[in-house]
């Protein structure tokens, strides 16, 4: 019983892994090729390149990642801190009565 389960599991993982690896290595741009992207044969550049060119004079911060985290995509980071808040409230809520016994 368990041995057949293990065989099925191993086979499934191998199949999923090989399919993922094949798909990704076959048709993604090769590793290290930023900023080049090929869309339908045409060469396009990824959005990230524009940040490198403009971020420093537009925002005055030397860390480009920060200019994205709070500048260009600041709304995402607001959402991210909301997620943290949500998880905190969720955890407090789950332990609420236990806390009162303390």
């Amino acid at each position: 019983m368990t041995s057949t389960r293990n065989v099925i599991a191993a086979a499934l993982v191998v199949v999923i892994g090989l399919a993922l690896i094949y798909t990704v290595t076959a048709s993604l741009p090769p590793f290290g090729s930023f900023p080049t992207r090929y869309v339908d044969g045409k060469i396009e550049s990824a959005v990230g390149e524009a940040y490198l060119e403009n971020a420093i004079w537009q925002t005055g911060a030397t860390n480009v990642v920060t200019t994205i985290v709070w500048g260009y995509r600041g709304y995402d980071t607001l959402g991210e801190s909301t997620v943290l808040f949500t998880a905190v409230v969720g955890v407090i809520m789950i332990f609420r009565a236990l806390r009162r016994e303390e």
Binding site: L20, S27, V39, D40, Y51, F85, V89, G90, I92, M93
Partner: protein, 504 residues
Amino acid sequence: MIPHAPILVIVLPLFTAFVMPLIGIIAERYHIKYLRELIAIGVMIVVLILAGTIAQEVWNGEVIVYELGGWSPPWGIVLAIDALSTQMALMIAGLGTLVMIYSASYMSRDSGLSYFYTLMLLVISGMMGIVLTGDFFNFYVFLEIMSISSYALVSFRRDALSIEAGIKYLIIGSLGTSFVLLSVVMLYGVVGTLNIADLGAKLATYGGTNVPSVLVLSLALFVTGVMIKVAMVPFHTWLPDAFTAAPTAISALLAGPAAVVGIYWVARLPYLPFGMPVGLILISLGLISMVVGVLMALMQRDFKRMLAYHVISQKGYMVLGIGLGTLGATLGTQGGLFHLLNHSTYKALLFMCAGAVLYQTKSQKFDELGGLGKNMPITALTFLIGALAISGIPPLNGFVSKYIIYLAGFQAGMPWITAIAVVVSGLTLASFMKAFSSVFLGQRPQHLQGTREAPKPMLFSMIVMALICVAIGLLPALGFNIIGPAAEAAKNTSSYISHVLGGT
């Protein structure tokens, strides 16, 4: 339109949620009753008004583009609001308000209410963020806000059942959101942008031929992730447990407004940003869900569990309709979106009725209930309206949208789909007649003799929902004013793309 209305709709519930724990502390220290409830309801009403002002603007043919932080797309995040988003935002705000009023009295016996209202507002804010955003990664972030707060809300009562349901929902739901994240990552790898309009414009150049296999994989992952959230049949296992174990106000919230979010992406998916044919997948998933959902519902002996299986079945109708819409049946998309509007009202109403019964009798098993029609006449009447609406009986709203989906089946040249849909509808009626007779008719057990009618705030929400059901049933034009532009906007990708990318 009030300036900044698009962002205020999302941010007002969010910031109120931030201060809600403090409001809770103040309310407990100074013994102010209903402070949290009133603030939550007030915020929801303001959000509803703001959504209304947005809707007026959008229905004039505009696509509102709001650049957050003043960064233009595709570098910054934008909110892009077309008629489809507007329909969803209006439904979330309206139904959210009613659910909030309902929970003000339904949850009054529980502890930890400030956390409850915090999480409720976070769910609303997350859903608003999902339907209004124009950025793919931002969609993922707000999906997580909505998901995490609903995981926590499902296990709010912390009994054995709800903890187990919460864990199940969390594991399966996180698997779904991880798939969505992986799909977003692959899209960034191939196309190099995250803006939905930009993605749509760049992927449209493929025209369905010579598509790299990564894009197909990305689409497959995204469909799987969305389908886990919509709970179509192979991925539905979390839903019955979660809806049964959650407090009924949460079940109504998840069945009404939260259904909106999944269907919103199902309706966007065939057109933006992938633009690949997924019609047959949607149709087959929808058909399987309809049939399996209703068959499972017929077997249930638990009030809320039966309603939960009907949620799966009814969502099958919507996915089926939208799938038919991509195959050339123009009525299909309209039918699916219209059914979403109707489903959200009557299913939230049915859950509220089940909650009212549960609140007064502390039981949700059919075997322990009976003869409550005399004790709770208004609940019985509203439940009957909801039951007839979900079964598609003519003067009520469910009939209109189901009829459109039947017609779409013929329009797409697949009359056997219509046949299946009619049969499922009949089974739904049978299931609800059984439920109605075993709860509200028949012998009343001894210990239920003194049962009283539900409290007034609960009745208010239920009556408003029932009135909406009747009104849309009698005057379908009311619904079509919302649905018509939405169905058109879903298909009109070029207008969306040109508004977002064509400057401010």
